[in-house]
Structures are given as structure tokens and as C-alpha cells.
Symmetry: D2
Subunit: 310 residues, 4 copies
């Protein structure tokens, strides 16, 4: 197999302050497809072009933030092997039984030194993208309901011990470092962008004193014009926009950052280039140039990017 091990971001579970308001936001404004609710009261969503049952799950809570972020792995054998590898590396893992989440097989959960709960799983029921598999149209009505991203693309997480996190992702989970921002003294990485594919990132981390913080979950848009449309829809719905539309220097991707009704930041993202793991030389941003890394046209290190998390 040429794509093995960890395949891609699978699901994120995010806490919201008001469930029904959030359902309306994620379904009608962001334009995710609601695919189920469970006995715990969680609501499950997928992006229209995703095949698996769900990629974004919300639950009502007293504070916003991320419960856990999961990756789908190739198969059950891979799941077993990665569990063993994580344990061999010295991490404690936990098994969450199949069915604890709707349409989802057994999960292996572990905590990163950054305080984030990660999960791996091999099975999630395929529900398709609504276009069928024989002579399919390129898209359907759901693409134009709300912002309509095609995929959960990645997440950026804030917490301590980023160097240790990097080791786990690169040495155990098979990711590679695509880009990084140096600390002001140039000695360490203030932020890292990691890929398990040829995407510019499947997950990213930034050094932050508090554990387990969510900076944003990112949803993939197809074009720069769709990012503009996303911004229009945000404004029509009085969504609080943080940054953008603009281009990141880091990843070259184009973006709008905004906040859901509970204050969880999300991103509508497109573009970037195609890195491959044979490139062992990550792109490096010096801290004094990170302004252009964040907002390339404006070359501006927006304060909120550094400080507002859930």
C-alpha cells in the first residue's frame, strides 16, 4: 500500500454552549449535513463530499472547546499496530468500544503531552455523498446549502510540549513536518504543521501554556471564489469573522477564520501545495516573519490568532 497507517482526520468532537443554536449554525450556515443524534444528545455532521458517516460532532456543555480529535487509519490491523506502537513509545492508550459513537468502530484514545485527546479508528460506516457510485454527477444540491465545505481538513491545537507532540506524530504515527514557525530566539518550534498525506497539513500545533486548547477546526473549500462566498454567507448570518479572506504564507492556503456561536474558531480553507514525505526539509518561518505566514497580503500577526482559543 502506498497510503498506509494513518489516512486522514476522521472526526472532531466539539463542545458548544447551546445545542440547537449550534445545530442551526453548523447545518444551515456552515452547511454541514446532519447525519444523526445519539442517546447522549450528541449531534453528528459530515461535509457533503465526505463518504463516511460523520466528521464533526457537537455536544452541549458549559464551556466551548475540543473533546477529542480522531484520525482514520487504513484498517483494523493498522489500528492494533499503532496502539502497540503508542504503548511501546510510552503512551497510555484506552479502547473506546465500537458503537460508542454512531456508525463508528472501536477507537484507540490517548492523550498528547499538549493535553489533547487523540483517537484512532479503522471503521466508520460509509453513507456516501449522495451522488451514487455509477455515472455520478460532480456535485449536488447539498454543495450549495450554506457554506458547503467538502471535507474536514485539519485542526490547529494549542498547548504545551509541542516538541514532544512532534516526536509522537513523526516517530510513531508516520506524519512528517511540512512547515514550522520558529520561536523568537530561533531555537525551537513555536508552531508545527504535520502531514500524513500530501496535504499541507492534517494537523498542526502551536506552543501555548494552557493544555488542550482548540485554535480551529478547518473545513476544505474548493476555490477562492467559494471562500468569498463563505465570507458573504458569514456576514449574511452575522457570524463573527476573525481574519480573512486572505492567503496564508504558511501552506499558501487561502482562508477565513471565524467563530461558531459558542466561540469555537473554525476555518474555511482552500489551496496550498502538495508536499511529500521524501521532502525532509520543512519550510521554516522566522518568528519576525510570521505575520506574512499568517496573513500574506497584510503581513500582519493578528493578535487574536495568538491569544483566542477555546
Amino acid at each position: 500500500m502506498a497510503m498506509t497507517g494513518v489516512l486522514r482526520p476522521g472526526h472532531a468532537q466539539v463542545r458548544v454552549l447551546n445545542l440547537e443554536e449550534s445545530v442551526r449554525f453548523y447545518r444551515d450556515v456552515l452547511g454541514l449535513v446532519e447525519t444523526g443524534r445519539d442517546a447522549q444528545g450528541r449531534v453528528y455532521f459530515k461535509c457533503w463530499d465526505e463518504r463516511d458517516h460523520s466528521s464533526y460532532v457537537i455536544r452541549e456543555a458549559d464551556s466551548a472547546g475540543l473533546d477529542f480529535f480522531a484520525f482514520k487509519v487504513l484498517d483494523k490491523a493498522t489500528l492494533e499496530k499503532l496502539d502497540a506502537d503508542l504503548q511501546a513509545y510510552g503512551l497510555k492508550t484506552e479502547r473506546i468500544p465500537a458503537g460508542e459513537m454512531l456508525a463508528t468502530g472501536e477507537r484507540v484514545r490517548f492523550e498528547l503531552p499538549s493535553g489533547h485527546l487523540m483517537e484512532l479508528y479503522a471503521e466508520k460506516t460509509a453513507v456516501g455523498n449522495g451522488l451514487g457510485v455509477v455515472n455520478p454527477a460532480p456535485w449536488g444540491r447539498e454543495r450549495e446549502h450554506g457554506i458547503g465545505p467538502v471535507r474536514l481538513d485539519h485542526a490547529l491545537l494549542y498547548g504545551p510540549n509541542v516538541a514532544e507532540v512532534q516526536k509522537i506524530f513523526t516517530e510513531v504515527l508516520g506524519f512528517y513536518l511540512v512547515e514550522r514557525v520558529l520561536t523568537p530566539d530561533g531555537e525551537n518550534n513555536a508552531a508545527i504543521w504535520l502531514s500524513c498525506s500530501h496535504k499541507v497539513h492534517d494537523i498542526a500545533f502551536a506552543e501555548y501554556p494552557e493544555k488542550g486548547k482548540l485554535h480551529h477546526c478547518s473545513f476544505l473549500m474548493e476555490t477562492w471564489e467559494q471562500v468569498l462566498r463563505a465570507g458573504d454567507i458569514m456576514s449574511m448570518n452575522k457570524v463573527a469573522v476573525d481574519i480573512g479572506p486572505t492567503r496564508h504564507g504558511v501552506t499558501r492556503g487561502c482562508t477565513i477564520y471565524a467563530w461558531d456561536p459558542s466561540g469555537n474558531r473554525f476555518e474555511t480553507f482552500m489551496g496550498g501545495y502538495q508536499p511529500y514525505p521524501d521532502n525532509t526539509e520543512p519550510l521554516t518561518w522566522t518568528f519576525d516573519n510570521f505575520g506574512q505566514g499568517l496573513d500574506y497580503p497584510q503581513r500582519k500577526l493578528h493578535e487574536t490568532f495568538l491569544t483566542v482559543v477555546t
Copy 2:
């Protein structure tokens, strides 16, 4: 590693009828970057955003067509293993020594039952994309020299025994089937699109009585607007256009097919979706619907697509 085995299309070697005319075409019209010439008279090119030394090589010959198409694999151990796997499968492999092509390590060559020579290699000198690795700009002047694709994306090859070719790619080389066109009787695959990544295709084959034929090499464009610009530049330079600009139903990608001065078809391509190997259900096009698979707006099975190859 999450990306292992075969990583991506690495290089294609194509025969042209007039070397200098072809150099002008590939350098100034298609906008590849010339990176070297060797003692055999071959001219080496890369796309501007590729990091390795070269991806497209031309040599002068009496007839147009493809000499060989190569994939880069993760590392030398992978190369050894795949060589052994190919032999174990019953294919004869040949070693081409490092340095036979400029800046390129040892290659493992084998012939497919379709009559195409394939190569695997693990090493090619990185020359970068000219933007540096510290605080890089998102693009530079080379992007706008000629059509300016970012990558060699894939090739479509015509020949016999596509079912056997599919077995080799999926059972030995770790590819998976993304889409296929059925034969008119629905019993077999007339054409197959194979991926070793989350691209909609890294290589494709169509059943054809004659061995070893090139349908097209495909170059990746970033946007639909860049495909329009490609069409403008083709016309300004009197390039013979075959089909497009249009959208394929197959892969959802957008395209122009055109011919180089020697009659080798090439494609300027963008878009498509992101498949993953956990999807074991390829998209299927019935033969009577392949018109929309080829040219989605026009729903038209252009005769040249089926018959003109080099």
C-alpha cells in the same frame, strides 16, 4: 509512515520529432523549467513547483510516444522491496544504474502487459522551486512563464491487458482503483484510474489493441482560471487543442487536452476530489455514459479521445 511505498509520478520520458522545436514548446509555451541536458541529447524539465530535478524528459526520435513512465518511491529500502515483490509476482525487472538519467538514482524498470515500460526510483536530486525554504513567497516569476503547471500529475496510457495491469498496480504496487469505465457489455473495465495517494489518479490505463501507447501526460494547474489562461496561451501559440476547456465527469477534474509539436497529447488539468484507499467502491461509468465522463457539459465522447495516441 502514512505515505509509504510508491509516492507519486516521478518522470516521463517522451519522444519528440524535433528537439529544439520541442524545447521551445515545453519551455516557453507549456512553461516547464529546463534543468539540464545529458550526453545522449536528452533535455530535462521540471514544473516550477516541483522540488526534484526533473519530471519530464524529451529525446529526439523518428516517432513520437512514451519511452517510460516512472514513480518515485519512499526510499531505497522500498525500492528493493518493490523490486522483489514485482519479481515474486512474476515480472522481470531490470536495474538502470544511478546517473543514467541526470540527478537520478538507480531505477527498477519493468514492462507491463500493456507494453509500457514503468520505472521505480528512490532518489532524485532536490533542486527546489526557487522560493527557498525560509519565509518563502507563495510563488515566483516562473509560475507565469508560459502555461506554468505546478506538477506532472499523471499519465493515461493505452494498451492491451488492462485487467492484468490493474492487478499489478493494486496487488504489488499498492495503488487502488478510484474510477473505471465499463466495456459496452459491462463485463470488464475499458479504462481504469488508479491512485497511490489521495489524488484522483496517479496513473490511468485504457484497453487498446496496440501496445505501449501514450494517450497523454497530465500537468497540474491550480485553478479553473489558470486552465482558461492555458487555453489562451495555446491559441496564441497555435497549439493544436483536442478537447476543452471542460470538466471531466470522471474525476470531476477540469481539463484541456492538446498536442505537442510532435503529436504527443498532454493535458492541463485541475481539480477533482480526494479519494482514500479505505474506499473500496470505485466510481463506475457505464460505457453509454462515458461521454459525460469525458466531457461533462457536452456529454460527448469525442472520437479523438478513443483513437489518437502516440
Copy 3:
């Protein structure tokens, strides 16, 4: 006034073979807004971003084609003056009373030497684009219902005596010649593009032996991406596409030509440049280069363009 006289294309009345099938096509596939039906059985449509009541009217008949094409003029005084000017030029004019068409004031009708009925009018009830006039959103839901063009942009009409038609438009109606295609002998204009604004054309004519023929009515799209989306929607609805998506050399505009269910060609068009009437030097296409004028990337003079009209 800086914009005086004839302002823009106002309405086209087109014959269809089956009214309800055509209503479904124009409303749900092309995405026009149905704004009324009258006692004669005519159905009125507007594009979503048009402010006036209607711009495209269909009626059931035994043969497809154009009944008449109308321009809105600045005001009633202009209407009177242009009527007098047309008569002074030697054309017979007819008054159609206000209210004969829904929401439309008195019309001045005259026949061109090409056999087409033209109309001028000064009044049509404004119904708005649904966004209001105070703090309006940039677009609303109607933009994404069907193809969703923003305006009736122009028409291309086929008939004899194009030179005489040109004189009427330029000497009486205040249009100017923007582009033209020469006849094969270079002595006359085979086709002319005329503007009363800074659009590349408000109306166009091509020499054709038969009188009063409709080549196409054109609907304005905002972007090249929207043209691609138009092509997708055409294919999803099995609309017969003629040419495109592609760029015209003439006008530089981007296009898809397709046919409505009755065989009336229409265009989804975008782009072009901004001509002004102080430019007295029209762009000229020699007949042997008209292939690139029609289809710039393909440089191809599609046979249907020259021969299929209603």
C-alpha cells in the same frame, strides 16, 4: 446625462414548442425568476439581479424563434424622439399600447431590414432584485437556483442586409460598432457587434439569407467559475450544449452555447472588456481567423454556429 438614448436590452419574446416544459427549463434549469403570466398565455421571467419586471418572455407556438427584441430607453421623451428619428430615417414604426405586456409601458416597434422586430420602451415596473435598497446583501437565494444569470445581456440575430441594420443602429439609435467579422473577400461585414453602452455588445447581427432568425439570447454570468457551474447544471439536466465552455476571441468573453427544449440557442456569458464610443476603430476579424474569434482555445469555426438558428 452621460447615459442617454437607448440604455440596454430590455426584453426578448421567444417562441417555445411546449410552454410548461419551457417554464420548467427557464425557471429551474436556467434559473430565471418567473414574474407573471398574462391573458395571452405568455410567461414572464427576469434574471435575479434585474430590477425591472421582466426581460425574457415565452409564448407557445408551432415553431421556435424570436418574436421581438426590445431596448429600454432613458425616458418617454427619448422614446418620442427616437420614434420620430426612426420615421425620419424612413422606417415605419408602430405603437403597442402600455399594458399589452405585463408591467410595461408603451412600445415603439419597427422592423429591421434583417427581418427582425425591434422595440423601444421607456417604462417597466421595477420589482427589485429581492435584496431591498437599504443595507442590501450582495446576493440572495435566487442566485443559486439553477444557473442563475444576473442579466439578459444581448442577442445575436441572423438575417440579410446587415449593412443597413448597422446604419440604423449607429446613425439613428446611437450605437457604435465594437467588433466585426469580414466576409471572405474582406469587402463587407459578415457579422457586427454593436454597443449602446460600455458593454462589448448590446446586440449583434450576422448576415444570413433567411430573415428574422434568432441565433441566441445571451445571459450574463458573473465569473468563469459560474460558467463552469452552468455547464454542470446543463449536463445534470441533459441540456443540449452546442459550444463551450470556452473563450470567444471576439469580445474576449467566456461562453457556453446551448439550446432550450425548443431548439432556441441561448448563451451563458461572462467577461469581455469595456469599450467606449470614443473608440472609432472597431476590432476586425478576417474571415479566415474567425475560428479563433468564436472559440479562442480551439481556433475552430464550429459548423453549428454558422447554420443552426431558429
Copy 4:
């Protein structure tokens, strides 16, 4: 004539602090075409797709700002008539002889109550866009030199007495009001967008205590993707960006505001809709909603927009 009177913005003359630095900026970064220098040391530029000799003229001075802004009128008779009309209205006009500016005929100059010098002229030598007038390509190399706007589109000027300025433009010069922002009390217009065409604005004014201030000259881009490219080029050249890329609610246009090396703001602008003078109901923005009028996605009234002028 359907387009009569004032046709379009013709030229702006802007003061810069360092001539050669500014020439490099306007020629190589903004990508204007330098078309001449005169005995006074002024440097003349045009956008690549403009036909007339020049549209943007810079001269070295101790302070940045606008010397004058001019409109091209249809012909000499129009120039005479508008001069007489302006005088009849009570404005003093001055004749600047032909040849005082390179390639430019006689100009009629007058001062607005806002303190801005306006000019009208009927003649400027046509130099073409370099593509010829027979079988022209849709664009050429100059389009991709620097940012490469197609036209000088409009200017926004800050000064007192906007209500009086509006009267002059609408009652004497034939413009019409397209959009406006109300003052906080809703009694007056804080800003007005005026058109002499079917552009969303040919000139705009905002109430400001100081006379004769330049907010920005605006250059027309063809697409949203070209606006992104403009932002990239700004950053590559360390141009100070003010706002954007974003969409304006006012005009629906897309924009980046940035500053030239002397602090003169300029805009790279695209889009908007097509207003016509038969629409007597301008779009109105209440002051509390002007944030979305300026920056639609962010709904934010950037402080610099209100306060930084030259």
C-alpha cells in the same frame, strides 16, 4: 448617441515624494505601462488595456495627494457644452491648452466645493493596448507585468460640501447616484457613489472637514483571483496594505486597499453589478451598517478608512 456627455475617468495626477521610487512602484509593482515623461518632469502611465495615451500621471512634490482628476467627454462639442453648463451653474472654469499634458487636448478645469480640481477633456491620443485591432489576442505580456490592472476605474475623494458636489455631478455633468451612506443622524449623505455609465461608480465622495483630499484612486482587476494575485505581489514587494482582500457591501465589489510609497492609497478592485440611470432609487447604507458596506465579511468599519487621506 446612447453614451454621451461624460464618458469615464480619464486621468488622475497624483503627487509623490520620490519620483524614481514611485516610477518603480507604479511600473513594476502595480504594473502600469509608462508612456512618457514631460518637460515638467511628470511621468505618464496607462493600464495595459486602456487605449488612450495615459490615465495616471505622477509628479514629485513635498506632499502626497491629488492634483486633479479628469473625465473624458464624448467630443469637443460636448466639452464646449459642459463648460458652458458649468459656468451657467455658477462655477468658474479654466481652459488648459492642448499639449499641456502629453498627448492630451484642451482641458476644462474647475474646482468643486469639496476643494478638488476636476477636469474635462475630449481628446487624448490613442496608443492602443498593444494587441492590434485585427484578429487580436485577448491579452499580452503586459497583463502579467506586476499587478496589471486593466483600467483606471474611479476615485474616492474626501472633502466638505458633498451635497453641493452631488448636485453638480447629477444636475450638470449627467451622473446619477448609485449608492450612499447616511450620516449617523440619517439626515444627509456621508458618502456618495456616482456613475456616468453602468459602472457602480465613476467617482465617489465622502464628507470630510479638510478640502481636496484623496482617499484612493482605484484600478480595475478582472477577477477575484487577480485580486488575490495583487495581494501576493503587494506582499512580495512589502507594499503597505490597508484593507482586504475582501468584498465591499457597497457596490458588491472586491478590493484591496494599499498605499503607494508616498502614502497615496490606491485600490485594486473588481466586480460590482450594473446600475443604469433609469434606477432612481439609490442603495442606501445606514451609518451603523457601514461596517458591512466597507468590509462585508468582517462587518468592520476600519478606522483608517475614515481618517487616512492624502
